[in-house]
Point group: C2
Chain length 228, copies 2
DNA sequence: GTCCGTCAAGAGCAGTGCTCGCAATCACGT
DNA sequence: ACGTGATTGCGAGCACTGCTCTTGACGGAC
């Protein structure tokens, strides 16, 4: 009948359902989700889900890939809504989108940007989606044509050039280094806020984050946003 | 006999021994250390260690406090060895000390700067040791008397002033904001390196980190290190 | 010398990831 | 149209976890 056999289609639906329930459990209980519990929620024996999921780590990998895709999509959507010439605006839209997604999905954020879960080794499937936000930032940086700055010395220069060639063509090694500083700054700020390092220090979370990311934009050498 | 009764002394020794074994297990297996396993290593029944440890979370809290103290001590020792007038040098010494401690004790680092372990709520005892590295950075910043910069607006300014009053007296809100940017940058960079976000991007880890932290020093407004 | 606090042990509960054999079912190829 | 074989689900079971409770024994304090 269909291109995919009925069996395969039912199987795909089943795996989707497992993923959905697992994501719900992840949101509720964090990374210590239990296969047995999702099996219970699905109304079937724990051993039955092993027909679809190779292991608990396998299930986590699915969720990790989905999470990377979700932040990436959120960031891209927010960035796309900004005037292409407003580089700082594009950068800030990206930052706030990432932060808001993280606040809305804290456990999923922790899954991808927190400490690796013990005994878990990230398979190769996860590296491609993981680069999505970085690539978006690279595009902004390349469009902004930042000041090349003083040349970087040593073997590091070649590596930064390689990174630039991959995500931000035409950007110098030094500017790429500053771009990665902003990248680190972004996820560092979100992680600190989410993981509680800002407790008892700053309550104006959004304003603080905004200040931080504007500073990062300046370091990167993005043009000042129109009307700010 | 002694000031502390014999009972209390034996008890203290026992808890120290438990902590030591637990730290060994943490280093080997990560945050999913099991009380039963450390009990086995100690040659006693799992139920016996509950005489000394209230719960697994309690044990984790001990290790967290120790870890905060250990990074703090490592950073302070490295920073103390640098000429007081060389602010950038003091900053870089702090950064590299933190990074090297983290590389040597990855699981302990993950415990304190990674995602919070699921279901674990950090007790109040952990907040004091947690500020140790931040306070050290504050002292460097205050000594460097950075440019006040443009005033920060809104309620955030008061919060930044309060933070400055606590860790870096005499520093303006804007400069404090830049100092916190460096703070975030430091731990963001270490976390990214340790948690695998730099994989397939940069191999010259130390040189990259050094470049990043020199950039952070510049952003903070520290004086350029003598002879660099 | 008795007494009571402290300690360690064992059994047990509820939960986990994961495996394996058995039974049923149901889409598919002939 | 039908037999069949792959696919699915189940239950029992293993080894493990955190944690509780009871029981027995040791030993310092009075």
């Amino acid at each position: 009948m269909s291109a995919a056999s009925l069996r395969a289609r039912v199987r795909a639906e089943m795996t989707d359902e497992i993923k959905a329930v697992a994501r719900r459990h992840l949101a509720a209980d964090g990374a210590n989700l239990s296969l047995r519990a999702v099996a219970r929620d699905l109304g079937m024996a724990s051993s039955a889900v092993y027909r679809y999921v190779a292991s608990r780590d396998d299930l986590l990998t699915w969720l990790i890939i989905d999470a990377y895709d979700a932040v990436g999509a959120a960031a891209e959507a927010a960035e796309a809504a900004v005037d292409r010439a407003d580089f700082t605006g594009r950068w800030l839209a990206t930052c706030h989108a990432v932060r808001e997604w993280a606040l809305a999905n804290p456990h999923e954020y922790a899954l991808i940007y927190g400490s690796p879960v013990p005994g878990y080794r990230a398979p190769a499937d996860t590296v491609a989606p993981a680069t999505r936000v970085g690539r978006l930032m690279g595009r902004i940086l390349a469009d902004a044509r930042p000041d090349p700055g003083e040349p970087v010395e040593g073997p590091l220069a070649a590596e930064l050039d390689a990174v630039a060639a991959e995500v931000a063509p035409g950007v110098s090694a030094a500017a790429m280094g500053r771009g990665m500083a902003a990248w680190i700054h972004l996820f560092g700020a979100v992680s600190f806020e989410l993981f509680g390092q800002l407790a008892n220090a700053v309550d104006e979370r959004r304003a603080f984050f905004d200040l931080q990311m504007r500073g990062a934009a300046a370091v990167m050498g993005l043009a000042r946003a129109p009307g700010s």
